[in-house]
């Protein structure tokens, strides 16, 4: 049983791919320019994998995630700004595809929350302290 499995493994196609085609070149290869690669990696970590249960495309083995990584790297290599690439994807999939919520009326409470909480907490504490005599 084991030998048959081993033999099978040696001739089998890539174990994880859904399709029969190999991953895109730029799905798993880093850009030669280190600055561009850093920008691409930073963006990939903030884009959501569309077919996963809560992972960024940087952390996913899914094929579509690989193709999205390739898209990000190619566009940044062509000189596009990361924000432009993000915006292009948000245009197609909605704010859901970005782990960084866009700053818009829908997410103002989210971004205001830290400050609001601090102020609320400080206000609740206002009577606690004894005045310095």
């Amino acid at each position: 049983m084991r030998r048959a499995l081993l033999a099978f493994l040696l001739v089998a196609a890539p174990l994880r791919a859904d399709s029969n085609l190999p991953p895109s070149r730029w799905a798993n290869e880093q850009l030669p320019d280190a600055r561009q690669e850093a920008a691409a990696t930073a963006l990939m970590q903030e884009l959501r994998c569309l077919v996963c249960q809560g992972q960024s495309i940087a952390d996913s083995d899914a094929e579509l995630a690989g193709d999205m990584r390739a898209l990000v790297r190619e566009r940044i290599a062509r000189g596009e700004r990361p924000e432009a690439v993000r915006a292009w994807l948000v245009e197609r999939y909605g704010a859901w595809v970005s782990y960084r919520p866009p700053v818009e009326p829908l997410s103002w409470p989210l971004y205001a929350a830290p400050v609001a909480l601090l102020i609320a907490g400080a206000w609740l504490l206002r009577g606690r302290f004894r005045r310095r005599g």
Partner: protein
């Protein structure tokens, strides 16, 4: 302390309402394209099989609505969808396809086995056009109107019960 002592209770009540809503209306994890109502992005795909033309955005603004089916030979639900597509084609719906990450021989084998309702098939071997359309899986279908504007998206295989809705969408796209 004053009225502030009721604040945690009120906040909790609001959270319970939101959560109860979520339990009542189950999550739809499908990601829909946000391009509905917008013109198709420009693209030009080479043929997926020899003998059949490839697909470009220009081919989809021909003056009458068309159905674009995003499929792949390695996609299992696409097999279930094939007879329905054949039926739609028989009823006069012009269907084009985009084959995702596929080899010509595999596409040809799929069409030979499950039927070929498509007039044109473009080969999208790195999912780039799929992403440009806001599609996130296979199979999906788009209703494109005569001016090349995306009018409707159907996520998942088109089942017999979905046919009336598709035909309706094609009507409205005229």
């Amino acid at each position: 302390m004053s009225r502030a002592r009721f604040l945690p209770l009120i906040v909790f009540a609001l959270l319970v309402v939101a959560v109860a809503w979520r339990l009542a209306t189950p999550k739809d994890d499908r990601v829909a394209s946000k391009l509905e109502g917008q013109k198709l992005p420009a693209f030009a795909l080479p043929p997926a099989v020899p003998g059949k033309p490839g697909l470009s955005s220009a081919d989809l603004a021909t003056g009458s609505p068309r159905l674009v089916n995003i499929f792949a030979s390695w996609c299992v639900p696409c097999i279930a969808e094939a007879p329905v597509l054949l039926e739609l084609a028989r009823r006069g719906v012009p269907i084009d396809a985009i084959a995702i990450r596929d080899k010509p021989e595999d596409v040809a084998a799929f069409l030979a086995r499950h039927g070929d309702p498509f007039q044109r098939i473009g080969s999208d071997d790195r999912s780039q056009v799929q992403i440009a359309l806001g599609s996130s899986g296979v199979p999906e279908s788009f209703v494109i109107d005569r001016k090349g504007v995306i009018r409707a998206q159907h996520i998942g295989p088109i089942m017999p019960q979905d046919v009336p809705a598709i035909l309706q969408a094609m009507e409205e796209a005229k």
